[in-house]
């Protein structure tokens, strides 16, 4: 039991980072990015190709992060432009359609050009014993990176002027403009951040298990489930939901079976939404 809970926490932290990238973009601009998983996969692939070109793993991973951020920026500058001109429901729907289209295009290209490739950053080393449980070195490093990322995000949003400005746009866009904040600029920054977070998820997951080029949609779906449970637009909600679902997922996998874990996550998500329609810590209706 301790082992699966610990596994669940490790997984849950990653779920949280995955969902944070989605929930920020939604909370800030009412945009749901269905190509989010593809951004993760492409960043992973860039890391892989860079390593194959002879670059060591750490700089290659950094290049992967840059690729993720650049993809986010490209989305902001291209397919999201018509989305920004719509408001309310029309904006959400158009963002769903256009990013879904982008996801198909990216998936199609990856399947054609790089079939069966996968990023695998196996980290070797003796297992570490944590709370009496043996953890693989890959898990330990991935969790360490994830915790640092969460810490940086917390610091950014809690203590910096920029982070406060971003939160203000989420809470009241007109209010933010009245104090001198440009919501469009904040959205651009958040798309870059979201791309970097997607890349971090791809890279840290590949330290535990290979990330296949076809993993895009399942990453997006997983991110969406966590986002919805946490409450669309809520960053703390994303991490809380990530932890809860991560633990549920790994406990369920070890006691019931991996094949059912996605179903169990969906059931957990559905129950949360029935009990609390705004999600655990939702800020929007």
């Amino acid at each position: 039991m301790t082992a699966s809970i610990l596994d669940g926490i490790v997984l849950g932290l990653q779920f949280g980072v995955l969902a944070a990238g989605l929930t920020l973009v939604y909370g800030l601009g009412g945009v749901l990015n269905l190509a989010y998983g593809q951004i993760a996969v492409v960043s992973g692939l860039v890391t892989l190709l860079t390593m194959e070109a002879g670059v060591p793993a750490v700089p290659a991973a950094l290049i992967g992060l840059v690729a993720g951020g650049a993809l986010g920026l490209i989305f902001d500058l291209t397919i999201l432009q018509p989305v920004y001109r719509r408001h309310g429901e029309a904006r959400v729907l158009l963002s769903l359609l256009l990013t879904l289209g982008a996801a198909f295009v990216i998936d199609g290209y990856l399947n054609w050009r790089y079939p069966l490739r996968g990023l695998n950053l196996r980290i070797t080393g003796d297992p570490l014993v944590v709370f009496g449980v043996r953890m693989r070195m890959g898990s330990v490093v991935a969790s360490g990176i994830t915790i640092v990322v969460i810490g940086v995000l917390y610091w950014l949003f809690r203590y910096t002027r920029l982070g406060r400005a971003i939160r203000s746009v989420i809470q009241d866009e007109e209010g933010s403009r009245l104090v001198g904040i440009d919501p469009q600029l904040m959205m651009r920054l958040i798309l870059v951040l979201s791309g970097v977070l997607a890349a971090i998820v791809a890279i840290t997951r590949s330290m535990v298990a290979p990330v296949n080029v076809r993993a895009g949609f399942s990453l997006t779906v997983l991110g969406l489930i966590v986002t919805v449970v946490g409450g669309l637009g809520s960053i703390p909600g994303a991490f809380l939901a990530g932890l809860v679902l991560g633990i549920i997922n790994s406990v369920a996998s070890s006691y019931i079976g991996t094949f059912l874990s996605l179903i169990i996550l969906l059931v957990a998500a559905a129950i949360t939404i029935v009990i609390r329609p705004t999600g655990l810590l939702g800020v929007r209706e």
């Binding site: 002027r161 406060r164 400005a165 939160r167 203000s168 809470q171 009241d172 007109e174 209010g175 933010s176 403009r177 009245l178 104090v179 001198g180 904040i181 440009d182 919501p183 800020v283």
Partner: protein
Amino acid sequence: MLEVEGVSAGYRGSDVVRDVSFHVDEGETVMIIGSNGAGKTTLFRAVCGLLPPSSGEVRFLGEDITGLPAQKVVRRGLAFVPAERHLFPQMTVEENLMLGAYPEKPDPDTLETVLELFPRLGERFRQLAGTMSGGEQQMLAVGRALMSQPRLLVLDEPTTGLAPIVARNAYAALERLREQGLTILVAEQQVPLALAVSDRGYVLENGAIGLAGTSAELASDPRVRSAYLGVV
């Protein structure tokens, strides 16, 4: 300081406010009075950059700011306090005030002035804005606007939703700001309150300026008296 010339503005191609001109000089307190639906909010939104005017010109401190987005207008020294306040409800009073100074660090002297003007904000410093009473939220909205060290403070119906005694307190605070030399433009339906603190005023009717004059002139005008002061 502020010159509005022939401004028309509205929604979806139809103008609500037509060919409105008025001005505010340095150190003045000017009111725009008008009944519900007259177009006061639309006019202010056009002035402060939330709604691009369809024609006309807005000049502030000698520069043309017509159509400049609100986030740039506030950085030039024109701070707008909307009737709905638009605070950040899940942030503390402190964070709301700090954001008022964005992108700069909050100026300690300005913060002190704001907390002197509204001691209640100091008592509620760590409370979430969304959990405060209407009167406190109004204080915070004004305080947040003051944190940007504006040259001109524009307020849209600052007494919206406030009990009469709270509304009077809000105007007492405006009176103190006026004494400190701040230039103020205020839209109001509660005309007696606004008349007491302003130097001049304009009457907005159906999207156009009907009357203009000093507050004393307006207060004795029979049309204002019957329509806005309840005097027959």
